[in-house]
């Protein structure tokens, strides 16, 4: 009898994703068999442990990944880029879980599926960062997108949330269609969906560098559609229209999660796709990305000026930030990749903290989200106002915050690649953006607090549980820490090189 040969299966590349899937099922099972009060304690703990183990898997493979490799029939890449992204994503996941816990209890929502959704979502995002094949990338994209649609509409009793989830879903489906079409066109042009190629079949990378018989038009069209699909996920103008509505309608912890984790996952795919696989086509994709970058920076910054709702302001700000990160992508050099990663990691921490504050101030039903509701916050809760100030200064890019360093390194990478004029635009738009961040700060410190009306219509008191306080504290510390001591993190991001085939 011939022995049955088990082909070698290396799971080290997707161990974090598998861990999160298991943790998600564990959370669901616990939810089914136990009562609500127990769930409220145990489910976030289990989710956190899941994220912890995922981080552990990622960290132990950091050493192995010194020589980046492909796994699972070259479907996923095990490189330090993916590992860096996964660790950061897991950290975002943990912060989201604990912010959401407070939020769910304020809204008398049952914990139940929420943490499982976060786990599924992060698992998909991790796969997105590691995917070495367009099909895998698409599956990952859909995995986290579908979970996100549900999370956006998690407050089922509220129409606004339902509406924004619906909009996000419809437009998301729209963009997925473009993404899928792009994959098909690229496949038609190159004969492969794999970025690096499988044994015996050249991938997109080798096809582009080796072959001269390019079916240029077909390939470029596919490339353009991929830009559209991913541009939607990073909320770049003009594929951004869903952003203000979805950010406003979603529960604030989910908004923070979208702004941090979704952006990181989508940008990870963009960096791998354009800065590596299609690097030789950079003169063809750069014009489109430059267009998106400028449009995002300008529209995001300018429209935010006239918003009165803090969540919408932060939504437009996130559009502008997508433009800033695109500047690093466009640089398409090592510094561009590492600085984009640094930017996304620090921006994510800051925006998670900011939305944790927004969630706390918003109160039940998130009614306190207008700029006027922030009047005199300093007098009501000086520490919360201080933390929010720090986040806003970081978003504006003021020195000794992480946001300043992020902008600095991204812009230097772009200048090194010769795009100094793009940096000039970015600087001008940072100046415009500073206005609306500082406007919030001014309102918090320099206005008198609105008195609660006798009939109870005034502002509700700010409630922030222990978990929320911890999240705000940690993100605030991280914002200032990475602003002062950023060398080590940028060093790690610098090691996070992409598998280059």
């Amino acid at each position: 009898m011939t022995p049955f040969n088990v082909p070698p299966i290396h799971l080290s590349g997707i161990a974090p994703e598998i861990t999160l899937m298991i943790a998600a099922f564990a959370v669901l099972f616990i939810g089914v068999f136990t009562n609500d009060r127990f769930n409220h304690v145990v489910q976030p703990l289990v989710a956190t442990i899941g994220f912890g183990i995922a981080i552990y898997w990622a960290v132990v493979s950091w050493g192995i990944a010194r020589t980046a490799e492909l796994q699972l029939s070259n479907m996923v890449a095990l490189d330090r880029f993916a590992i860096f992204a996964k660790v950061v994503l897991a950290a975002f996941g943990v912060l989201t879980v604990w912010t959401a816990r407070d939020h769910l209890s304020t809204h008398h929502l049952r914990d139940f599926e929420f943490y499982a959704l976060v786990l599924f979502c992060v698992s998909g995002m991790m796969l997105m960062a590691a995917s070495a094949d367009l099909i895998v990338m698409f599956i990952a994209l859909e995995t986290f997108s579908i979970a996100l649609y549900v999370m956006v509409g998690y407050r089922r009793d509220e129409l606004a949330g339902q509406e924004s989830a619906m909009k996000y879903f419809l437009l998301g489906a729209f963009s997925s269609a473009f993404f899928l079409l792009g994959i098909a066109l690229v496949y038609g042009a190159t004969g492969s969906t794999n970025l690096y190629g499988t044994p015996g079949h050249p991938g997109i990378l080798s096809f582009l560098t080796g072959s001269s018989a390019l079916d240029v038009g077909l390939l470029l069209l596919g490339m353009a559609f991929l830009i559209v699909g991913l541009g939607f996920k990073i909320a770049a103008v003009p594929f951004h229209m869903w952003t203000p509505d979805a950010y406003q309608g979603a529960p604030s912890p989910v908004t923070g999660f979208m702004a941090s984790a979704t952006k990181l996952a989508a940008f990870a795919a963009i960096l791998r796709l354009f800065d590596v696989a299609m690097y030789s086509l950079r003169w063809d994709w750069r014009p489109y990305l430059i267009g998106l970058a400028i449009a995002s920076m300008v529209i995001g910054s300018v429209v935010a000026l006239v918003q009165e709702d803090v969540k919408r302001i932060l939504a437009y700000s996130s559009i502008a930030h997508a433009g800033f990160v695109l500047t690093g992508v466009i640089a398409a050099n090592d510094a561009g990749v590492s600085s984009s990663l640094f930017y996304l990691a620090t921006y994510g921490l800051t925006i998670l903290g900011a939305f944790a504050v927004v969630a706390a101030i918003g109160g039940r039903g998130e009614r306190r989200v207008r700029l006027a509701d922030y009047r005199g916050l300093y007098h009501e809760s000086p520490l919360l106002a201080g933390a929010m100030t720090l986040f806003l200064l970081s978003l504006a890019g003021v020195p000794i915050t992480a946001g300043f360093v992020g902008k600095l390194v991204v812009f230097i990478a772009a200048i090194q690649a010769g795009y100094w004029w793009l940096v000039v635009v970015a600087l001008a738009m940072s100046a415009v953006a500073a206005f609306f961040y500082i406007r919030i700060i001014v309102v918090m410190y320099m206005s008198e607090r609105l008195e609660p009306l006798p009939e109870g219509g005034g502002p509700a008191p700010v409630v922030l549980g222990a978990a929320g306080r911890a999240v705000v504290g940690v993100t605030a510390l991280a914002t200032i820490f990475f602003g002062l001591i950023w060398g080590p993190l940028i060093g790690l991001a610098g090691h996070a090189t992409l598998f280059a085939g």
Partner: protein, 633 residues
Amino acid sequence: MESFSHAPLYAQLAPIVIGLPLLGATILLVAGRRVGRASGALASTLLSIAFVLGVVSFFGVTGHGSQIHLWSWVPLLGFHTGVDLNVDPLAIVMVLVVTGVGALIHWYSLGYMAGDPGYPRFFAYMNLFAASMLLLVLADNVLLLYVGWEGVGLCSYLLIGFWFERPSAAHAAKKAFFVNRIGDFAFLAGIFVLAASLGTLSIPRIDASVSGGMTSGLATVAALLLFAGATAKSAQIPLYVWLLDAMEGPTPVSALIHAATMVTAGVYLIARVHPVFEFGAASLDVVMWIGILTALLAAILGAFEYDIKRVLAYSTVSQIGYMIAADGLSSYSTGIFHLAMHAFFKALLFLGAGAVMHALADELDMRRMGGLRRVMPVTAGTFLIAALAISGIFPLSGFWSKDAILAAAWAQGQYAIWAIGLAAAFLTAFYMFRLYFRVFEGPSHVQEDLHPHEAPRIMTVPLVILGFLSVVGGALNVPGNDALERFLDPVLGAPAAPGAVTDAILSAVAVAVAVIGIGTAWGLYMAPAADARRAALEHRFAVLVHVARRKFYVDELYGYAFVLPGKRLAMWFDSLVDARIFDGAVNGIAAMLSGSGEQIRRLQTGFVRSYAAVFLFGVMVIFTVLILRVAVT
């Protein structure tokens, strides 16, 4: 450059030495109110532990010491600047001065500041001051040094203006800050020159590569720019004016600024980057002359001042002038030696003055004092020791260190420097004993309702310790056993010294001059008929006295030459350029942007179909561009 884990123990202690006062400052700034009365003890204990660690480091460090890399800080554009510390003999000597004298001043403040409502804030700033200074002396690259440099400037501003509700204190703080800004600007420019031409920010690498990496002329420019920064921090001509007003801070602050931190920064800086000054040799002459002239000028002004703290402030300016002159004479270790000795007796003088103020309800005018020795024996005794030390009386600490500077001038043939230094030494002895006699001896002119008393134990013990150090400190570096000099040699090189016989004669001359100075003070203030003699002298040199009392009109000169035109310019900018051009442009752009924001916002209708339309519009644009590009190629 070694990583932290591979560095020797004495180097590993360095970051902790900086970290302890920094920790204290952080705790007190965040939770000072909760710490309350304990904040003084906390801050003082932390700095004392730092001193102990510094002593441990002192016994470990040899030769060129050790450079340790803590973490990468600004890894940009080829400058891989890290948070790196240079733990070498020079740095350790400075660490010992800053932490040792600094800790004594901290403990003293426990008594002096007791009852002040800003008690925790005071100690937070004091600890931050010490931490900044420690960072300054331990920094391995100029960028990190600059952080300490600015930190020191910031803390001096905060502490001089500690009682900011007094307009004079707020004004003095502003003055200190502005004058230091001028210096900082020059200093920064100097750093840029060095970084641009040598391609490195590391101080050891700058020192090693300056002679090969830039022209001598450029090195002179860099050195002079750095020196301009030093004149501000170390209160030298022409930027010494801030130090006099800095008396508005609590007295322990003056002690800290004058003795342990801040003003010594310039002396240290020149010694630290001395290869730049040596290579741009013309700069050394400037340094030497500025130093010695400052020593003389400040000594003259000090002799006419009645405010005891201002006398001491002039004396600091004058003594720092000696140190700067020593740097200019390439006798860097001599300068550092005098710096350390000066730290002892100057801290003692200020703390003694603080004890007097404490006893006399903040009286500062020496004409309303006198005879205090009888009620404050410890303060008077230690003050006398310090006065003898600063006058350079054998064998106290100041004798050895000042003598070494004058000897170095003689040995290099700079007889003019030597003579001016001697003249300043005469004046030093004179104004110091003028102060001593008027405050502690003779009949009492204290206001009737005041009942002077000796300071509490917590204040007198530091005085006694400093008094002891002022007596024996010189033993560190006596001729024949020049321990400090040999310790610093690997970093600073050996200073010039005359032969033993010449040295002995020079010393005898210096002591004789000092004794004459003391005698003159006695003759004019203590001897029978002193008042009449003084009045006759003042009458004969009335114009000179008047001009000197008005501080040679330097403040007025600066006021008319710089401050007033500066204010006019600022007002012009404010009314025309700022209000019309910039504000107009900013408001115009803002209005335009909000206007366009409003327009774009209308697209955000809330209908999914219009969102999809915008989306599709984007796709169409991309599509069009693509077709055009393909068609063109």
